[in-house]
């Protein structure tokens, strides 16, 4: 089943009078359960593409579908609703709320989705266990290492049982060991839960975990999957 489909999407940023074309017409389809890497040098459009799939931003042209629903013209609140139950995010910076404990950070999306206290408790503890942090539930982010923080972020992204998790350079701020651990946890959760992962990276050690690799350059997909050249206009 198709989780997301991108059709001929462009994204132009205007800074003053200067226009920058971040995406020049990208088409892509991602199936349920994929573990896909978006790769390419900085400025190739990886982050922009993730933000469009994640309903954080709107395309300048073309269409973005999430679970067959066109999200290209949703307003702010509709996009927030779409993100809340459907999409989980993992950021390069660990992006935990510093005033909340690990437990409360994971609980946040469940609170936003209106789950009951007992549902939240069961789910949060189960998730913290699955990222090997059950014993750090009451620690605040500043009491956790970078790797541990990123694992909390993974648990948080999984909390509302999303269909799609988007990760933007999830290991960029981690050392090799922690980076590998994070990738292994993501791989395992992808296999265990079947949730789709799409992550942007330019780290070859991370790319090797991907089952599918989509390469971008200058706002276009230049390589899709196992070496087949993509047709930018398709």
């Amino acid at each position: 089943m198709e989780v997301t489909r991108i059709e001929n999407v462009t994204r132009v940023y205007k800074i003053g009078k200067v226009e920058t074309q971040a995406l020049r017409g990208v088409s892509l389809s991602i199936e349920s359960g994929e573990f896909t890497a978006l790769v390419g040098p900085s400025g190739s459009g990886k982050t922009t593409l993730l933000q469009l799939i994640g309903c954080l931003d709107l395309p300048s042209g073309g269409h973005v579908y999430i679970n067959s629903k066109d999200v290209s013209s949703l307003n702010r609140n509709q996009r927030a609703d779409m993100r809340r139950g459907t999409i989980g995010f993992i950021f390069q910076f660990f992006a935990l709320i510093p005033t909340l404990t690990a437990y409360e950070n994971v609980e946040m999306p469940l609170l936003l989705n209106g789950h009951s206290a007992s549902e939240r408790r069961t789910r949060v503890l189960e998730l913290l266990k699955s990222v090997d942090l059950a014993d750090r539930a009451n620690n605040r982010p500043d009491q956790l290492s970078g790797g541990q923080q990123q694992r909390v972020a993974i648990a948080r992204a999984l909390a509302p049982k999303p269909t799609l998790i988007l990760a933007d350079e999830p290991t960029a701020n981690l050392d090799t060991t922690n980076g590998a651990q994070v990738m292994e946890i993501m791989t395992r959760l992808n296999q265990e839960t079947g949730v789709t992962f799409v992550f942007a990276t330019h780290d070859p050690r991370v790319i090797k975990y991907a089952r599918r690799v989509v390469t971008l350059r200058d706002g276009l997909i230049v390589e899709n999957n196992n070496g087949t050249k993509a047709d930018p206009g398709a």
Binding site: L56, D57, A80, D81, R83, F91, F93, L111, L112
Partner: protein, 405 residues
């Protein structure tokens, strides 16, 4: 909701010193408002009370044609058989005391100095004169049959260099338009702590005042004190008649009431300034907080938190600041007001002509003022949070996530 406040509380805890000083700004603002309001209430409340006690009473019954501004002593402007009229009024249940008084104008002269005065002919035995009797600083109070004694205020005594036992000449207007002059002895000196009254009021026994002014068995007014000022209107309607005019304390102290209104008007401008400054501090704090947490706002937004809820989060912070500030303000303001309620605020002889203001103002804080000002401080603080909260709620998630921190 609880989660929202829990988060807001912790967010304020990130920069404890800044949050404390912001709340303190609200607190100091509120404390200042409480002090000002209690000062105004104290000043004018005391002015009305001393006016009622010292010169207007709750009610005065006068002849229909009596004109206060002229201090008329014409027989037709006076009340005949005043003792009898006073006794009738005193028989009404709400009336505490009713006593005749005769007013005249004149001047006191000693060897080389003189001063214009107003003469109060009073019944020395009436309990209505308690404030003067209790204010006696030297000498004796008058007796009804004293034919040569006068009672003068301390300020007048100081101005003319008089002490008990000294001789003065008193010149008084009379009923037929002449001026009569007679020597008197200073029997006693009183002080009501109200310079405006003590400097110009000279007391004579009623009988002597009637004699010197040739008013005979007449008085300018029947001075009435009630057991409860709330009964004023009821007594007024009971006293209405064709020959008399009945004046209420509110009417007689119109100037004070109007001045109080004016002062309150000025004060509301001052309140706005104080609250404006407080609001600026809060806006500043919260805007800084929004900027510092831009990326967090982006993350929360990415998790699906809607603008409305982000706004609510910041409003929860400003309401916590408001509550903290109000607690500080009530403690701080309460202590300062309590001090000035007990020890007063010495202003010296800072009176406005026509208004009896004591030399010390004792603050009076009413429950109504406290509640109104507290609500005002809360609402202003909350409103101050509105702009930063809206700013946070309108951030584009993409922009917010791109922020440095």
């Amino acid at each position: 909701m609880i989660q929202l406040f829990k988060m807001a509380f912790r967010d304020l805890g990130r920069n404890r010193r800044r949050s404390f000083f912001s709340a303190l700004a609200v607190g100091m603002g509120l404390a200042m408002l409480l002090l000002l309001a209690s000062f105004i209430k104290g000043e004018y409340g005391a002015a009305i009370e001393s006016s009622i006690r010292l010169q207007s009473g709750h009610l005065q019954v006068r002849a229909k044609s009596y004109d206060e501004s002229k201090t008329s002593l014409k027989w037709e402007d006076l009340i005949e058989n005043p003792d009898q009229v006073a006794a009738q009024i005193a028989s009404l249940n709400p009336v505490q005391v009713a006593t005749p008084r005769l007013f005249a104008s004149g001047f006191v002269s000693t060897g080389n100095e003189s001063a214009g005065v107003r003469i109060f002919g009073i019944d020395p035995l009436s309990e209505a004169n308690a404030p003067y009797r209790e204010g006696l600083v030297s000498g004796d109070f008058l007796t009804p049959d004293d034919r040569e004694g006068v009672l003068i205020g301390r300020r007048l005594a100081d101005n003319l260099g008089l002490s008990v036992g000294d001789q003065i000449n008193l010149s008084v207007n009379t009923s037929n338009g002449d001026v009569d002059e007679q020597p008197f002895t200073v029997r006693g000196i009183y002080s009501t702590q109200t310079g405006g009254f003590d400097g110009i009021t000279v007391f004579l026994p009623l009988a002597k005042a009637q004699a010197i002014t040739q008013a005979e068995n007449r008085a300018s007014t029947i001075f009435v004190l009630l057991k409860d000022s709330a009964q004023t209107d009821a007594v007024v309607s009971a006293l209405q008649g064709p020959n008399y005019q009945v004046l209420t304390w509110a009417k007689m102290n119109e100037l004070i009431v109007q001045t109080e209104d004016l002062a309150s008007g000025y004060m509301s401008i001052f309140y706005l300034i104080v609250l404006g400054i407080t609001a600026t501090v809060i806006i500043n704090t919260l805007i800084m907080s929004v900027f510092e947490r831009t990326r967090e706002i982006g993350v929360l937004s990415a998790l699906g938190m809607k603008g409305r809820r982000i706004m609510a989060m910041f409003l929860a912070e400003s309401s916590l600041l408001a509550v903290g500030g109000i607690i500080l303000g009530l403690i701080l303001g309460g202590l300062v007001v309590a001090y000035f309620t007990k020890y007063g605020f010495f202003i010296g002889n800072f009176g406005v002509t026509g208004i009896l203001i004591g030399d010390t103002i004792y603050t009076r804080l009413t429950l109504k003022d406290t509640v109104t000002l507290t609500i005002m401080a809360f609402v202003v603080t909350l409103l101050a949070g509105l702009y930063p909260a809206m700013m946070a709620s309108r951030m584009e998630p993409v922009e917010a996530l791109r922020a440095e921190k």
